[in-house]
């Protein structure tokens, strides 16, 4: 880490409202992909009391301190940051497992992020499910928000609620990731399509991640899916990382409705 670059750092919160839609999976894989591209990346687990990011990244045995201890002054930020074993530029700030979401405040999270900005290009915040204190802590320091949802009525309803709350909190940059889509089911009329979700939620699409069995396999091993070049989800997460870094990457042609896809493509090539 060096202290020379403090401008242009981005704090991005990944949130959803509904639990289990893929926030932690997204944070883990997108941050690994960006670190592999050479960016300095930190991930902050704010799911205090129910932490999972360390497990998904396979870093659970390296955790010594946690974010609450940093905030309470028991250790320094540097001591608490866990360095990833595969990617040189990736660090994780672990959540506390035996504490509560209201043991920290939005102001404390903001101060911590400001301290980290000088060392990282990207700081991802893994937000807990729900709209309570944990959510408020997670969005307080963020410049941008990524809303993850599934093509399913309850997940879309929660995503809509979250988007409304982010807009009230003055977020200008809110983008959508649709996770766990099955194009075969969309085609047979048994799943909401990408177009349906964009019509309901009216926000910009950042990426689409298909349902992929490899995600479960990677999670079992504690390895990021992006290391599996053959996985469809890996390709999707890599593309999302490149879009976050400012590259223009088309959303692959899922061949649902060509005129729709050409519209999306123009959206991203602007």
């Amino acid at each position: 880490m060096n202290n020379s670059e403090n401008n242009g750092s981005q704090v991005i919160v990944v949130t959803s409202g509904k639990g289990g839609v893929g926030k932690t999976t997204t944070v883990a894989n997108v941050s690994c992909a960006l670190a592999r591209m050479g960016y300095k990346v930190a991930v902050m687990d704010l799911d205090i009391g129910l932490k999972k990011l360390d497990l998904i990244l396979g870093l659970e045995n390296r955790v010594i301190y946690d974010i609450v201890q940093v905030i309470e002054g028991e250790c320094t930020l540097k001591q608490a940051l866990v360095k990833d074993k595969r990617f040189n530029h990736l660090y994780m700030l672990p959540a506390a497992q035996t504490r509560n979401k209201d043991d920290i405040t939005p102001e404390q999270v903001k101060a911590l992020c400001d301290e980290m900005r000088k060392d990282f290009h990207f700081i991802f915040i893994d937000c807990p499910a729900g709209i309570e204190q944990g959510f408020r802590n997670a969005i307080s320091a963020a410049d941008k928000a990524i809303v993850v949802t599934n093509p399913e009525v309850s997940a879309v309803r929660d995503a809509d609620r979250i988007i409304g709350m982010l807009e009230s909190a003055q977020f200008k940059d809110i983008k959508l990731i649709i996770n766990r889509i099955r194009m075969d089911m969309v085609k047979s009329g048994n799943m909401l399509s990408i177009e349906d979700l964009l019509e309901h939620l009216c926000i910009e699409l950042l990426g689409v991640v298909p349902e992929d069995k490899n995600v479960v396999v990677s999670t079992n091993k504690g390895e990021p899916i992006i290391l599996n070049e053959k996985s469809a989800a890996a390709i999707a997460f890599n593309n999302i990382a490149r879009r976050i870094a400012g590259e223009k990457v088309e959303i692959p042609d899922f061949s649902e409705n060509s005129s729709f896809w050409s519209r999306i493509k123009t959206l991203f090539s602007r």
């Binding site: 399913e152 879309v156 309803r157 047979s188 009329g189 048994n190 909401l192 349906d196 309901h200 009216c202």
Partner: protein, 83 residues
């Protein structure tokens, strides 16, 4: 015959996605505005009462929530009797 069966099959299958869209449209309209179906009914009745005092209504009035992007508006359509 096969074409016919295919059509029936397609129609049956499209129903769950269509149904999901229809339900979402209604639920999001109410979530965003903090209104209920009941409130819309009450509004409709009261609006009609006020209008009726001054002009004659013809047909069925409609009160719905419509969207422009993420903005919502109350759409009131009250047909009036011509002379």
């Amino acid at each position: 015959m096969i074409d016919f069966l295919k059509k029936i099959y397609a129609r049956e299958n499209s129903s769950s996605r269509d149904k999901a869209n229809e339900r979402l449209r209604i639920v999001l309209a109410h979530d965003r505005t903090g209104t209920s179906t009941h409130l819309i009914e009450v509004l409709k009745e009261e609006i009609i009462e006020v209008i009726k005092k001054h002009v004659e209504i013809d047909g069925t009035p409609e009160v719905t929530i419509v969207h422009e992007g993420r903005q919502s508006a109350l759409d009131i359509n009250i047909p009036l009797k011509g002379r």
